[in-house]
Symmetry: C2
């Protein structure tokens, strides 16, 4: 059963922080030359200095508005899709909205959706479900800053993560040329402790737990994650493509979350996928949390690797532990 919910991406934009780190990251932190590329698969990544989640998100949003020649007043809803935030209160979408030119003149709603690395997929599905003749244009922004939550002694995460913001404008497509075919998200609670920033929330509040590299940095149990993905991912994809007209092997393009070098390798091997079908940007951006999937997608549109009408699978894993898939006709 293909429901074909009409949704068309009409605007794309991105913002990358000014500061690029390549070999200098290894020099700065006393990591052997070539370690990052060999182990993380990341040759360079962008890290913010003073740039905030709101600033980056608004920059990407403006680019998406310009790309599609959309006036901000046409936007019916802004979704911030990600795990990063400038403030605990207000929500990030409100902060992004306030930094988009002239957006304070219009009172469209601004809401946050967070499924960590899969947030863009969740927001896209949400958008497909609410787009109609009244809610016509939705701005989705994934703006992520991971670099402030890294432990310099943990080379695996230090070399893996990057910062970036991506924005897309999605529209109700009455012609039904572009649509969402299927979306699925599963949360496997047995993996809840495998990916975590332990501190900074209510469990260990700042007030009582001063800054500590380990406590306030991103921690992941890479081997356990791959083990869990190895068990659940084949089952997920098997169910996902049941009752569709598609198989994972005969799609135009697959845009996986750029979780890690080993993760991408295992994913391609698991489903016998060719390199030219599976898009990768890990080497030049690193893992940018929820921004990774849309960044890879937007990059491929800009480089004409994805063309109008292509059948694309956006998929990945996230903290939680979760697996998500989104099958669209672009």
């Amino acid at each position: 059963m293909n429901l074909k919910t009409p949704i068309k991406i009409t605007g794309i934009g991105k913002y990358l922080p000014k500061k690029i780190l390549s070999e200098d990251l290894e020099v700065n932190f006393n990591i052997p030359n070539g370690w990052a590329d060999k182990n993380s698969g990341v040759q360079q990544r962008y890290w913010t200095e003073a740039e905030t989640v709101g600033y980056m998100g608004a920059k990407a949003a403006q680019q998406a508005l310009d790309y599609s020649n959309t006036n901000i007043k046409e936007i019916d809803l802004l979704i911030s899709a990600g795990a990063s935030f400038d403030h605990i209160i207000p929500n990030q979408a409100s902060v992004i909205k306030s930094q988009i030119k002239d957006a304070d003149e219009y009172n469209f709603p601004a809401l946050d959706i967070n499924t960590t690395c899969l947030s863009f997929l969740t927001a896209f599905q949400y958008a497909a479900q609410v787009l109609n003749e009244k809610t016509k244009k939705i701005l989705i922004v994934s703006s992520e800053v991971s670099s402030k939550h890294l432990d310099e002694n943990n080379w695996e995460t230090l070399t893996l993560f990057g910062d970036a913001a991506v924005a897309v404008i999605v529209e109700f497509d009455a012609s039904n040329e572009s649509y969402l075919i299927k979306s699925e998200h599963r949360t496997y609670s047995k993996g809840v402790n495998l990916t975590k920033i332990e501190g900074g929330g209510i469990k260990k509040p700042f007030k009582f737990f001063p800054y500590d590299k380990e406590l306030h940095s991103f921690q992941m149990k890479g081997k356990n994650l791959l083990k869990l993905a190895n068990i659940e991912l084949p089952k997920f994809m098997d169910d996902f493509f049941k009752n569709t007209d598609y198989e994972i092997q005969n799609l135009d393009k697959i845009i996986p979350h750029q979780a890690s070098k080993l993760g991408l390798l295992l994913f391609k091997k698991m489903f016998s996928l060719n390199n030219d079908i599976v898009l990768e940007t890990l080497h030049k951006y690193g893992n940018c949390i929820a921004a990774s999937i849309p960044l890879t997608f937007v990059d491929a549109i800009e480089n004409q690797i994805i063309k109008r009408g292509d059948i694309c699978l956006l998929c990945g894993t996230s903290a939680g532990f979760a697996i998500g898939g989104l099958l669209i006709k672009y």
Copy 2:
């Protein structure tokens, strides 16, 4: 135009922290006796000690499951609707899910929706839009801990806020006896700086900004907020009830966000509303962020103040600045 999107609340649950603070709060912080009741309208509030957002949320969820005699395996989606989180990663819904009994055996998705104080309304609207013959039961949990973000020198906020968790199960109602009539949310960016926790996010990362009472506590510009609400709320409600069969004065019950004593007073005066129509729990729970509206709602169901078939308006303001309204037939 009344769309009447079928959605029925079948399960309700709540969790209140063990520790209740009434006059002892004033004694502890050297506040004159009676100041809180007189100025904040709060006679008592519940504050967590070791209880986490996840723990409270799971407790409330279990009560809602028991109330409706629902097995956790029947749940198709869990939404955490609020601004509080135990960890920066993973998302709060994953943390709550992992703490609900037997939930790790089922892989339903767990996502966060955050529009601060209006999160429950946003989640409820979303639930109404996605409920269908396939996605039949959704668990919405608003679990909020504000007490860890309070500055003891700021009596206004110190006496105003409380902690609480609320859960509801909403179901697709084929009989269409219970439904959503209308939902609206507007974000007014000119008020983005009126309600804020400045630190703790990417703008002033904990890594470089150690704990500071002012920086890491909730700050609000109460007078400016009321001024903005005074201008925008009448316009919002005027538009909201246009093209519906209802007026704000002829509803069965109104459940406003328990923002503040003065806010509630002005709201009733603004629309000439009677005390018996407008439900209040501020005096016994304080302002519990996103948990306030559903807590007041659930309380009224438990006390048979709200009855099946009642036309109810849930509404309020939030950081951002935003106004939201949700009109339902319970």
